[in-house]
């Protein structure tokens, strides 16, 4: 029986209702506004088209036997059909504009609409990277201003704007370290120290740059084991790649000591800036002894990501590495701005360039818009609120859920799966049940140093009301798991457009391209 309010409407959905669902399957497969959607290839055919092209004039071609004999097989659709396809897909998508997006280590914060408005100004939106400098002075001035604030906020003298994402920025930083080592004749230094809680991109970047990776264990507090680090120093060490706050959401308190140790050993300090959003305005990485760090504009400075837009990973450098920073970069020459595009025109000894053009201009506009609209005090408060929100969730959830480490966290709260012990429910099931509750799951099974990890990053975007509601849902789920409602978790998601996907089979036997039904049948024979 549903509990009824005065209007006779159910005030809360009963679980039994969910069990009855599916008795009345719709004929179309759609569920009211949740419409089923076929692939474009399955939906379209060669008879229809949304475009009206003039008849091809009778011209002789030189292709001979190479001319295509059959239709290319692109699906033909009317314009409304094509539009509906993408609108329907977008409605199945979860987005920060739709609800809480607590994906740890990803910083899915609100993307202010002001940023979008600025990025669409024709003077920024309609640029071409090959335009003459004299016609893009405003854009160059913006890049110069962005560079100024990035170097100011990090306390580091130089920045390369061109890297296109976090890992690209890492590559940029490590290539500069490599160039510096080579320039100094330190070609024996090829070992890079990476904590075991690091993002997977760190060791991958080191290897890509020709280094070998040496893993440093974490201590019981979730931070770098200082003694283990000391034991790994030597004259073959190129540097360390350290995230701060680290992926356990904890501030590496020994960071100054770590920087000193690395520098005394002759190596350089790469800081993975993925979590810079926790400390902007409070800490300048340059003061901590960092030599290079990428900044994810798409996390810290709120530019859209995760399918909403490309990333941008500007990389800042210390005095030691600045001469090796890549081209291009913007300089002011009198009252004009210009791009230094070539190594031979640069003051230092750039290691080369990271991309053909100048970086993600649209993201530069959005990031600067975010900085200017917040101001110095606003940026600092955003960091503080991100940390406050994470600690609020940590406090609300600790107990029914089990925190991974003691003490305050920074911008993300990390839990292990101890609270699910003997319930038959695993981290994966718990995450899937959150989908039914209308929430994007948190990051799971990362960092690897915590068993069954659940990493929650609420960001500063969420209000207290929103955090309370989110926490209530997680607490109810944790209680349900302990009460033995295993099926609720094993069956989840029940209410999603698709039920649980076979991730194992998708990874083992990936289907990478669509084939027409007949062709597939033929291939099977």
């Amino acid at each position: 029986m549903n509990t009824l309010n005065k209007q006779g409407r159910p005030s809360r959905p009963a679980v039994a209702q969910a069990e009855n669902e599916g008795q009345f399957e719709t004929f179309s497969g759609s569920k009211a506004l949740q419409q089923t959607e076929l692939l474009l290839f399955d939906r379209g055919d060669n008879e229809r088209t949304g475009v009206d092209l003039p008849e091809t004039p009778d011209i002789a071609d030189d292709l001979g036997d190479f001319a295509r004999k059959d239709a290319i097989g692109l699906p033909g659709l009317t314009e409304p059909e094509a539009m509906r396809h993408y609108v329907r897909l977008s409605q199945k998508n979860y987005a920060i504009d739709l609800g809480v997006y607590p994906l740890g280590s990803c910083t899915m914060k609100h993307n202010p609409r002001l940023n979008e408005k600025m990025a669409r100004l024709p003077g920024f939106g309609d640029l071409h990277p090959l335009q003459p400098e004299s016609t893009v002075q405003g854009a160059l001035a913006l890049m110069d201003q962005l560079s100024h604030w990035l170097t100011t906020l990090t306390g580091m003298p130089a920045v390369a704007l061109s890297p296109k994402a976090g890992a690209h920025g890492e590559l940029c930083g490590m290539l500069a370290i490599r160039a510096k080592l080579d320039a100094d004749g330190q070609t024996k230094r090829r070992r890079v120290l990476v904590p075991d809680s690091a993002h997977g991109t760190n060791p991958a970047t080191a290897v890509q740059c020709g280094f070998t990776v040496d893993e440093i264990p974490s201590d019981d507090t979730g931070r770098v084991d200082l003694e283990a680090l000391k034991g790994k120093l030597g004259d073959d060490v190129a540097g360390i790649m350290l995230t701060n706050p680290n992926t356990c959401g904890l501030f590496e308190r020994d960071i100054r000591t770590i920087a000193d140790l690395i520098h005394e050993a002759g190596g350089y300090f790469y800081c993975d800036g993925a979590n810079f959003n926790a400390i902007v305005g409070r800490v300048r990485p340059g003061d901590l002894g960092v030599d290079a760090m990428h900044i994810n504009l798409h996390k810290t400075f709120s530019t859209p990501h995760g399918g909403g837009g490309p990333g941008a990973g500007p990389t800042v450098f210390s005095d030691a590495l600045a001469p090796y920073a890549p081209v291009p970069y913007v300089v002011k020459d009198g009252d004009k701005w210009k791009l230094v595009e070539r190594n031979e025109d640069a003051e230092g000894a750039p290691f080369g360039r990271m991309s053909a053009f100048h970086g993600q201009m649209g993201m530069f506009v959005r990031a600067l818009s975010y900085m200017m609209s917040h101001g110095a005090d606003g940026l600092k408060q955003a960091s503080e609120d991100a940390v406050l929100n994470a600690n609020y969730l940590l406090a609300l959830l600790d107990g029914p859920m089990t925190r991974a480490f003691d003490g305050y966290c920074m911008h993300e709260a990390l839990f292990n799966d101890n609270f699910l012990k003997d319930t038959g429910v695993e981290t994966l099931d718990f995450a899937k049940a959150m989908i039914d509750e209308g929430y994007h799951p948190m990051t799971m099974y990362f960092p690897l140093v915590v068993h069954g990890a659940l990493l929650i990053e609420p960001t500063e975007s969420e209000s207290k009301t929103s955090l309370d509601r989110f926490a209530d849902t997680l607490l109810a789920l944790a209680e349900a798991a302990k009460a033995g409602e295993t099926e609720r978790f094993k069956q989840a998601p029940v209410h999603a457009p698709l039920r649980r996907l076979d991730e194992t089979r998708a990874a083992r036997q990936p289907v990478l391209r669509w084939k027409p039904a007949e062709a597939e049948a033929q291939a099977a024979q």
């Binding site: 690897l448 991730e503 194992t504 990874a507 083992r508």
Partner: protein
């Protein structure tokens, strides 16, 4: 024929001068469904603790280390084609490589069956 275990959850079963190496059922269970295995080249020379293979599951990617030093004399290409075998028979058909031992003395530093069981239980 003796089977020894490492703290990184590899096992090695030695017959004569050749040891067969795999990961323990405990490790396979912790990893979850294995979806990809990368094996070394036959003839590769490995030192104890060197990365011998890479194993990826739906949850994580991790390395399989050489429990002892030796030369790779055979690899189990069947698990590269069908990674599920590692989950189904981690201590049997799901073996990774065969090593020709260069220093059988290194085996002494590894755990026996009883010691490993205790170690794995304590690790959670």
């Amino acid at each position: 024929m003796t089977t020894k275990y490492t703290k990184d959850h590899e096992w090695i079963r030695v017959e004569g001068e050749v040891g067969t190496v795999g990961i323990t059922p405990h490790a396979a269970e912790q990893l979850g469904d294995v979806v990809f295995v990368e094996l070394p080249d036959v003839g590769a020379s490995l030192k104890k603790g060197d990365e011998a293979a890479v194993v990826e599951s739906v949850k994580a990617a991790s390395e399989v280390y050489a429990p002892v030093s030796g030369e790779v004399v055979e690899v189990n290409s069947a698990i590269a084609d069908n990674p599920g075998t590692v989950n189904e028979a981690a201590d049997g058909a799901g073996w990774f490589i065969k090593l020709k031992l260069s220093d059988a003395g290194e085996l002494d530093g590894l755990m026996d069956d009883g010691a490993y069981k205790e170690f794995a239980a304590n690790e959670g």
